[in-house]
C-alpha cells in the first residue's frame, strides 16, 4: 500500500492550526522516525495518516489497499485475557475464531507472553501491556505499523524489549512509522527522519545526516536542546 503520499496536508482544531501544509512521500522499507518538540504535531500527523483524524485540508493517499495498525503511548487493554485481546483484533479483521486463536498464540510467543496467555490483560505490568499491544498489532500482519511514543511511559528494561520487538516486526516486512522523544532510540531504530516544527515539515532526511548535519536552524536548535 506504500508509498504514502501526503499533499498539502493540514489539520486545525477550531482556530488552532496544528498541521500546516505538509507534503511528503513516505516509501516502503526504511523505518521512519517522526521527531519534533512537544506540540510540533507528531501525534496528530500519525493519526491523520492512520485515518483516526480527518484532514481539514490536503490529502493522505495510499497506493492501493492493505493493512495498517497503530500502537499508542498508553496501551488500551480490553477487560479480558491477553489471548482474547489479540483474538479481538484478528476477529475484527475478519479471521475465523480458529485461525485467530492459532495466530494469537504464535504472536504471544513471539513477544514472550506465552506464560501470560490467560491472565487478564489489565493486570499485566506496563511493559507487558505494551508488548501485548505490539502483539495485537503484529498479529494483523500489517503492511504499515504506526507507533506513537511506544516507550514513553516504560522503564529502560521494558523499553529495550519493545525496541527489540519493533526491529523484529520491521524485519518481518512491516513498514515502521514512529514518534519518540528519545533521540538515542531514534538513532537505534530509525533509518530516516521527518522533523516537524510548529506543524510544518522542516526536514525529511536519512537519520545519520539529520544528527550529524541538520540542514535547518530549527533542527540544530532542537538537537542542541534535546541531546544530553
Amino acid at each position: 500500500m506504500l508509498p504514502l503520499q501526503l499533499e498539502s496536508l493540514s489539520f486545525s482544531a477550531g482556530d488552532t492550526a496544528i498541521i500546516r501544509g505538509i507534503s511528503a512521500r513516505i516509501e516502503a522499507g526504511p523505518r521512519t522516525i517522526v521527531l519534533g518538540a512537544n506540540g510540533a504535531g507528531k501525534s496528530v500527523l500519525m493519526r491523520l495518516c492512520h485515518g483516526l483524524l480527518r484532514p481539514t485540508g490536503g490529502t493522505v493517499r495510499w497506493q492501493g489497499s492493505g493493512c495498517q495498525a497503530m500502537v499508542f503511548q498508553r496501551p488500551v487493554m480490553l477487560r479480558r485475557s491477553a489471548l482474547e485481546n489479540v483474538v479481538y483484533g484478528l476477529r475484527l479483521a475478519g479471521k475465523s475464531r480458529r485461525e485467530a486463536l492459532l495466530r494469537a498464540g504464535d504472536v504471544l510467543e513471539a513477544v514472550e507472553l506465552s506464560h501470560r496467555t490467560h491472565s487478564p490483560a489489565r493486570v499485566l505490568s506496563g511493559g507487558e501491556q505494551q508488548r501485548l499491544a505490539l502483539a495485537r498489532a503484529w498479529a494483523l500482519g500489517p503492511d504499515v505499523l504506526f507507533l506513537d511514543e511506544p516507550t514513553a511511559s516504560l522503564d529502560p528494561a521494558a523499553t529495550q524489549d519493545i525496541e527489540r520487538l519493533i526491529a523484529a516486526i520491521h524485519a518481518s516486512g512491516t513498514k515502521i512509522i514512529m514518534t519518540t522523544h528519545n533521540l538515542g532510540q531514534a538513532r537505534r531504530l530509525g533509518d530516516e527522519v521527518l522533523f516537524l516544527n510548529k506543524g510544518r515539515l522542516i526536514e525529511h532526511t536519512p537519520i545519520d545526516r539529520f544528527f550529524s548535519h541538520p540542514a535547518s536552524s530549527e533542527a540544530a536548535t532542537f538537537l542542541k536542546g534535546e541531546l544530553p
Partner: protein, 234 residues
C-alpha cells in the same frame, strides 16, 4: 414505646413464621419489579450504548432529557399509565388496569431512564478511553458498542441493581395503576402504606424490614461484584 416494641416483636413473628400473606406480598413485589427491571434493561442498555457511541443530531438534548427523566416522580408516571390504560384511554381495550402487568409497565417506564442514562455515562467514559484503539482495529459503531457493554459489564450490573432498588421501593406508580387490590396487586410498598394508615403496624413493619434488608442485600451484592471485578480484571 411499648407499642413500637410490640409491633417489632409481631413483625419478627410474621417474618420468622413465613406468614402466608406476607410471603404473597413479597413474592408479587419481586415478580413485578424483576420483570420491570428485565424489560427496562433490554430497552435501556442498548439505548444507553447508542447514545454513548452514536454521533447524531439531537443526541445532546436527548441525553439531557434522559438525565432529567431519572427524577420523574413515580406518581406522575402512575397517573400517565393510568390514563393510557383506563377504559377510555388509548390502550384501554387490553384491560390491563389494576393488574400486575400494569404495574410492570409503570415500573418499566420509571427505570428505563435510570438504566439508560447511567449506562450511557459508564459506556461514554469507556468510549473516551477506548475510541482510538477500537477505531484503529477497525471496529464499527455496533461492534464498538458491544465491546464497551461487555467491558463495562460490572458497572452495568450495579446500574441494573440500582434500577431494581428504585422499582422495588416506589409506591406512587404501583398504587395508582395497581389499585392495591388484596391478593391481586398488593405489593410491599403499597401494603406498608395501607396497613400503616389502618394502624396494623406489625405487618407494615415486617414488610418494611424485609424491604430494607432486600435493598441492603442488593447494595452489598453490587459492592462485592465490583470488588471482585476490580481484583480479577483490573
Amino acid at each position: 414505646m411499648t407499642d413500637l416494641s410490640e409491633a417489632f416483636a409481631a413483625a419478627w413473628t410474621l417474618i420468622a413464621g413465613f406468614d402466608a400473606e406476607l410471603a404473597r406480598v413479597v413474592g408479587l413485589s419481586l415478580r413485578v419489579s424483576l420483570s420491570a427491571v428485565a424489560i427496562a434493561t433490554l430497552i435501556g442498555l442498548p439505548l444507553g450504548a447508542l447514545l454513548a457511541v452514536g454521533r447524531f443530531r439531537g443526541r445532546q438534548p436527548l441525553i439531557v432529557l434522559l438525565n432529567a427523566m431519572m427524577g420523574l416522580p413515580p406518581v406522575v408516571i402512575g397517573l400517565v399509565v393510568y390514563l393510557l390504560l383506563s377504559r377510555a384511554g388509548p390502550l384501554g381495550a387490553f384491560g390491563l388496569l389494576f393488574t400486575p402487568s400494569a404495574m410492570v409497565i409503570a415500573q418499566t417506564i420509571l427505570i428505563v431512564p435510570i438504566i439508560a442514562a447511567l449506562s450511557r455515562q459508564s459506556i461514554d467514559d469507556a468510549w473516551r478511553e477506548y475510541e482510538e484503539q477500537l477505531r484503529s482495529l477497525g471496529a464499527g459503531p455496533v461492534s464498538a458498542a458491544m465491546t464497551l457493554v461487555w467491558d463495562t459489564r460490572f458497572s452495568l450490573l450495579t446500574i441494573i441493581l440500582a434500577g431494581f432498588g428504585r422499582a422495588a421501593a416506589e409506591v406512587g406508580a404501583v398504587m395508582i395503576v395497581g389499585g392495591n387490590i388484596d391478593g391481586v396487586t398488593r405489593v410491599m410498598t403499597t401494603t406498608i402504606a395501607l396497613e400503616t394508615s389502618k394502624g396494623d403496624l406489625p405487618l407494615a413493619l415486617g414488610l418494611g424490614i424485609i424491604l430494607i434488608l432486600l435493598i441492603i442485600f442488593l447494595n452489598a451484592l453490587a459492592a462485592v461484584t465490583r470488588g471482585f471485578a476490580q481484583r480479577r480484571y483490573g
